[in-house]
Symmetry: C2
Subunit: 118 residues, 2 copies
DNA sequence: CATAGTGATTCGGAAATCGAAGCAGGAGGT
DNA sequence: ACCTCCTGCTTCGATTTCCGAATCACTATG
């Protein structure tokens, strides 16, 4: 399988520079990645429970994502299932302003799009 | 074209809840989306210049992303090209802790993965 | 042996992405 | 008018990613 875990300092998909933030954007910009981190920040979970929490996402992709995130040292697997490392918790915490922003976004978008979807 | 812009309050790919943060994660979790916002936060750019800055990403996807982000009120197109709206600037700002985190990530990963890829 | 749980893989089909080429329109020059 | 160069943007076949049901290997329990 061709999936490689983005690493800071190594050129990644869409970035030849290898700048850490670009590697992060590459890693996070993959389907389900942020959702997985988000869910695990709520509580650790086993493979199947994690799959359930993520709207029953496909196990093949979950397996790939888990491998990537483990390789990026954001996840570990122990007796209780998958859990965030300290680095992973820090990442989710750095993402937390996004939740506040999305609230304002909702307030801005809600009234303006009341007309209907497209 | 089947692309629909995620909106807070509307169930999106990978989320039946429609919670704003899930809509945001869906929108941002698409290839090139965060990169485009990141680049435009540096300076406004026209279509082709934006494409150049994003490692010559495919024009078809750029067109789709630009449409999504415009629909989400994060982008506008004027005489100078594409630029972030206030909402878009706020989003990028809420993402800025990510840059700091990625630095620590790089420090943590660099030495630890000197052994080789995978 | 049977059952049930775990994490994880296989594989055919669907969807997203890629990328080179081209379209339509505007500005400037001759 | 015509040609050239720029713009934002579309088309379409090829490639990559993602999906999802079935399945594997392993462990534990009975």
């Amino acid at each position: 399988m061709g999936a490689s875990t983005p690493r800071p300092g190594v050129p990644v998909r869409g970035s030849e520079s290898g700048r850490p933030v670009m590697a992060a954007l590459d890693l996070l910009g993959r389907r389900w990645t942020m959702r997985i981190l988000w869910e695990l920040s709520q509580a650790p979970a086993g493979f199947r429970e994690l799959q359930r929490r993520c709207e029953r996402m496909s196990s093949s992709v979950l397996s790939t994502r888990v491998e990537e995130l483990t390789g990026a040292r954001l996840l570990t697997l122990d007796g209780d299932g998958y859990r965030l490392t300290q680095l992973g918790r820090d990442l989710v915490e750095s993402l937390s302003p996004l939740a506040a922003w999305s609230q304002r976004w909702a307030e801005e978008m809600g009234p303006a799009t009341a007309g209907g979807p497209e």
